[in-house]
């Protein structure tokens, strides 16, 4: 079986570590852009973090934002070109630590953009420091004795938080740890883009992801660690869907 590269991905070889799930998510986003036929009117915003080079990988017009500011940059693009489909691709440090204000306020404004949020509970690019989504007792280079809730507080639950905002149209947490979940993740990403095209407001898909390199685990073991440890803290599911509420 020959698997063709989606047109919305360039031919540039990805730089991600073996077993990293960024590649899967890049492909899913690109497949959705292809299937919706929107590559020509899509503008993507890359973050600071492991996926900083996303601007080299997606075939649509791309902008590289300052750390955490992708939602504000996307706001500027969308307000200047409302006819464009605009998405940000952000990691947990970018979106839920340094860029929390920007994230919350695109939800508050109901900014008509799509956020693809990669949550792997660690800072990857800088080499494995504590993230805002690092779970209790998780060992990172800046929590060498495990994340202490007393010292560092609790992990941020982004979908739950954004679901409380009236401008958030769609918030779903997915995972790419197995084929079934990969298919469900693609469906969520497609729904998020579709809701943007329908002008519904902010759509966000949080993808529970692995970081075998900085977790210090082999790719398969990392997938299992995600199932055993991340999923209980960050349950998969739809947290907001205004299209469902409308049809009630």
């Amino acid at each position: 079986m020959a698997i063709k590269r989606p047109h919305a991905l360039t031919d540039v070889e990805l730089h991600y570590c073996p077993g990293c799930t960024h590649g899967i998510v890049h492909r899913l986003v690109a497949e959705v852009i292809d299937e919706l036929g929107i590559e020509g009117k899509t503008v993507g915003v890359a973050p600071v973090g492991c996926s900083v080079f996303a601007y080299n990988y997606f075939n649509c017009d791309m902008i590289e934002a300052p750390h955490g500011r992708a939602p504000a940059v996307a706001t500027g693009v969308k307000r200047a070109r409302p006819e464009c489909a605009v998405f940000t691709y952000q990691g947990d440090g970018d979106l839920a630590a340094i860029g929390t204000a920007e994230t919350v306020h695109v939800g508050a404004r109901g900014e008509n953009i799509t956020i693809i949020f990669i949550n792997n509970a660690i800072y990857g690019m800088t080499g494995g420091q504590m993230a805002p989504t690092t779970i209790a007792n998780q060992v990172t280079t800046t929590t060498p004795y495990g994340r202490s809730l007393q010292v560092n507080g609790n992990p941020v639950k982004v979908c739950e938080m954004l679901a409380t905002l009236d401008g958030t149209a769609y918030a779903e947490r997915v995972s790419v740890d197995c084929v079934k979940n990969v298919m469900a993740a693609k469906k969520a990403i497609k729904k998020a883009f579709t809701m943007q095209l329908e002008g519904k407001g902010l759509s966000i898909v949080e993808v529970l992801s692995t970081c075998p390199t900085n977790w210090g685990l082999a790719p398969n073991a990392a997938m299992q660690w995600l199932r055993d440890n991340l999923m209980p803290v960050f349950p998969l599911g739809v947290y907001k869907d205004v299209s469902k509420e409308e049809s009630k």
Partner: protein, 352 residues
């Protein structure tokens, strides 16, 4: 057709921006520039543009980054503490070669400082609008009519050179009312924005707006290319006004609101027979070196006047380069000097 109207500096700036094609404004309230944002909020929706109040100055400048990337004429305005917050974004705008206009109606600092007029952000504007090797063009109008003219020029220069342009005013200039004529404003030819992120339309390779160059040799080449552009800006775009510099013994150097006080003091000194002249930089970056270099050969001394503890004076000293003494007189913290106060300084320095 001429149309004289009476307007506040802040409002005239906003109106001039709309008239020269600024369609997007992202702001955050701060004294003393608030009238500018409020004017935009009132006018933009009526005139097909967008005013959006951001959640912070940081968000506002990044919205500017997004809109500039998408190829529209875009502006933000703030005052000193807010500009400090915007500096991260300004550095990225410089590094991504994005055109935009940023207004700083300066107030006293450091920290929260005060809300009265100051010129203590000169170093920041000309040296350190964010990290890295880079500059933004900095324009310093002195009258409300010049606010109108330099706003139009700012948008044109931004597009021509693909760079952020700062309009560096102060609380006094923003708040004062003067008659202005919008018809007088000259325009420049601007290039098409074929680099903008507007969607490929599946008709061209994708455009990338970016400031990251991980290979040091790539980054060095890019910064060097940008500095070639800066050299062209320095050679062609420096602006200044000179008065009474033919026979001058003491040259006053002042910009913005301070230049108007200096002008009054100069006229008072001339009436007393003192040979006092004035050089008023209109562009602070590029700094107008030519008139000061020329005067260094003939003038006996220079007196730089600022609403700060002495910032532009360093640029004056760099140009004069020891050929004549360069003195400084300033007030700070939101205080303005009176013409009489400045005249006393002039007389003391001329031994009268």
């Amino acid at each position: 057709m001429s149309e004289k109207v009476l307007m506040k500096g802040n409002e005239a700036l906003a109106e001039a921006a709309i008239r020269c094609g600024c369609t997007h404004f992202f702001g955050y309230p701060i004294t003393p520039q608030t009238e500018l944002s409020e004017y935009m909020a009132k006018q933009m929706p009526k005139r097909g543009g967008l005013y959006l109040q951001a959640e912070s100055e940081i968000a506002a400048i990044n919205m500017v980054l997004g809109a500039a990337s998408a190829g529209v004429r875009v502006m933000t305005s703030s005052s000193s503490p807010g500009i400090s917050l915007k500096c991260e974004g300004i550095s990225y705008l410089i590094g991504s070669d994005l055109p935009c206009v940023i207004v700083n109606m300066q107030r006293g600092g450091p920290g929260l400082g005060g809300i009265q007029p100051a010129q203590s952000d000169y170093f920041q504007a000309t040296r350190a609008l964010g990290h890295g090797d880079g500059h933004a063009i900095v324009l310093a109008p002195a009258t409300v009519q010049e606010v109108v003219n330099t706003t139009t020029l700012a948008f044109d220069l931004a597009d021509i050179y693909r760079t952020p342009v700062m309009i560096l005013g102060d609380g006094a200039l923003g708040q004062m009312m003067e008659p202005i004529d919008f018809a007088e404003v000259p325009r420049r030819q601007c290039p098409a924005k074929d680099w903008a992120c507007t969607g490929t339309g599946m008709k061209r390779p994708h455009n990338i707006v970016n400031s990251l160059y991980i290979q040091p040799e790539d980054l060095e080449r890019l910064v060097e290319e940008r500095f070639e552009r800066y050299a062209k800006i320095e050679a062609e775009e420096a602006l200044w006004e000179e008065q009474n510099t033919e026979d001058t013994e003491l040259v006053l150097v002042a910009y913005g609101i301070t230049a108007r006080i200096a002008k009054s003091a100069m006229n008072m000194a001339r009436e007393k027979g003192l040979k006092v002249g004035l050089v008023r930089p209109i562009t602070l970056w590029p700094f107008p070196k030519k008139p000061l270099d020329k005067l260094s050969a003939t003038a006996k001394r220079f007196l730089c006047v600022e609403l700060s503890m002495g910032q532009m004076v360093e640029d004056v000293r760099l140009v004069v380069n020891g050929r004549a003494p360069v003195d400084f007189f300033g007030r700070t913290g939101g205080m303005l000097m009176t013409p009489a106060e400045l005249l006393a300084q002039i007389e003391e320095r001329m031994g009268k």
